[in-house]
């Protein structure tokens, strides 16, 4: 990473995805798998998936990483963000097939490019800054972010989980997003 004081180290998957795209590098795939598959599984379990579903979607996500490696643009997104969006879309597809949900979100598998993201260095810098900013959020703001990712429920129900009014959930998240954005856009 370019910023050594990052409290959370960022695994550099971009080079490995590049190796898969360039020469179908199986060793690179195995290294990516070793890092991401157990985290994909953990995330799905945290979202309430059973073990078999979590394992299946984690493996399908990695398979999709292999197939789509050539589409990965390290200037647009860091590897974790890209892989997260693949996981998200596969999970939604699987839920829809299971008739728990009916319609996909946007089928775009590529993450939305952040404004001004135009180089690999920028993407890596953003990833480092975001993670640093995340760890410095007040706990109440970090909590609403966590619940956005770990709870398959409308935010109106998060208010029940936290015992705070919906307006407070919204304003906490707004504060958190504003802080993260200014950390991302601030020049150093």
């Amino acid at each position: 990473m370019t910023e050594s004081r990052d409290p959370i180290a960022v695994f550099d998957g971009a080079a490995l995805i590049g190796a898969i795209a360039a020469r179908s590098d199986r060793a690179a795939f195995a290294a990516l798998f070793e890092y991401y598959a157990p985290r994909l599984k953990a995330y799905l379990l945290r979202l309430g998936a059973d073990s078999a579903f979590a394992e299946e979607i984690a493996q399908d996500t990695m398979l999709m990483v292999w197939r789509k490696a050539a589409l990965f643009d390290p200037a647009r997104a860091n590897a974790s963000t890209w892989i997260f969006t693949i996981l998200r879309n596969l999970r939604i597809d699987a839920l829809r097939r299971a008739r728990l949900a009916v319609v996909e979100l946007d089928p775009t598998e590529e993450p939305i490019a952040p404004p001004g993201a135009d180089s690999v260095l920028d993407a890596a810098k953003r990833a480092g800054r975001l993670r640093a900013a995340l760890t410095s959020l007040p706990p109440d703001q970090a909590e609403v972010i966590r619940l956005s990712f770990f709870d398959d429920r409308p935010h109106a129900e998060i208010e029940r989980a936290l015992g705070i009014p919906l307006g407070t959930v919204k304003s906490r998240l707004r504060l958190a997003v504003a802080k993260l954005r200014s950390a991302l856009e601030g020049d150093e």
Partner: protein, 205 residues
């Protein structure tokens, strides 16, 4: 100029993949027209990457890697992926408008799903008001054509209104041009007064 946006909570939930899918469809229509919300959405997706990085790993089955490696050379299934309809033209293709009351027509896009949410287009003649009603579930509306107003404000092309549980309003199309919206509705609406029966198909009650 878009003035009404989804809440950050909604955009982050959409990026996370935890928003009800049909509400996501309405958000997606707004995003095609709103750079400001696309920027928030991008932060949400980056958060997703950060969340992944911070998960404590949970081991897969012993043969998971071998199993996946064995699948790498299989041909990818034909991707039957079509683009999701985002424009009025694409959304109405092949659909049918049904008259549900004076000056109000409805086109069903997706019937009520397992979360109790349905997706419709509603087309209202200039100056026509929908009967006052309140919400027992969340509602998400994005303007595709024309404009309407209710007590929360005035809504134009691309604007998105989020109606939370308990919203009690009487939306009215502005004069001059018909108004067409895409609406995701969770749960059932409760109409006040005499028009209840008239809008039965719309309210699903």
């Amino acid at each position: 100029m878009i003035r009404h946006h989804p809440a950050d909570t909604t955009l982050v939930a959409y990026a996370a993949g935890t928003l009800a899918p049909l509400h996501g469809r309405v958000v997606a229509v707004h995003l095609t027209q709103c750079a400001a919300c696309r920027a928030v959405m991008a932060v949400g997706e980056e958060l997703g990457g950060a969340v992944l990085d911070t998960m404590a790993p949970v081991a897969l089955g012993a043969d998971a890697l071998a199993h996946t490696l064995a699948r790498l050379d299989l041909a990818a299934p034909e991707s039957a992926q079509e683009t999701t309809a985002m424009t009025l033209e694409a959304l109405t293709r092949g659909g049918r408008w049904r008259r549900v009351g004076p000056g109000v027509r409805l086109m069903k896009l997706v019937p009520r799903d397992a979360t109790g949410t349905r997706l419709d287009l509603v087309r209202v003649s200039p100056g026509t008001a929908l009967p006052r009603h309140d919400h027992r579930g969340a509602e998400m509306t994005c303007l595709l054509k024309g404009a309407f107003a209710d007590k929360l404000g005035e809504y134009h092309m691309g604007d998105l209104e989020e109606g939370d549980v308990g919203l009690d309003h009487e939306p009215r199309a502005l004069d001059g041009e018909e108004c067409i919206c895409i609406i995701a509705t969770t749960g059932y609406l409760r109409a006040h007064g005499l028009f209840t029966r008239m809008l039965q198909p719309l309210f699903g009650i």
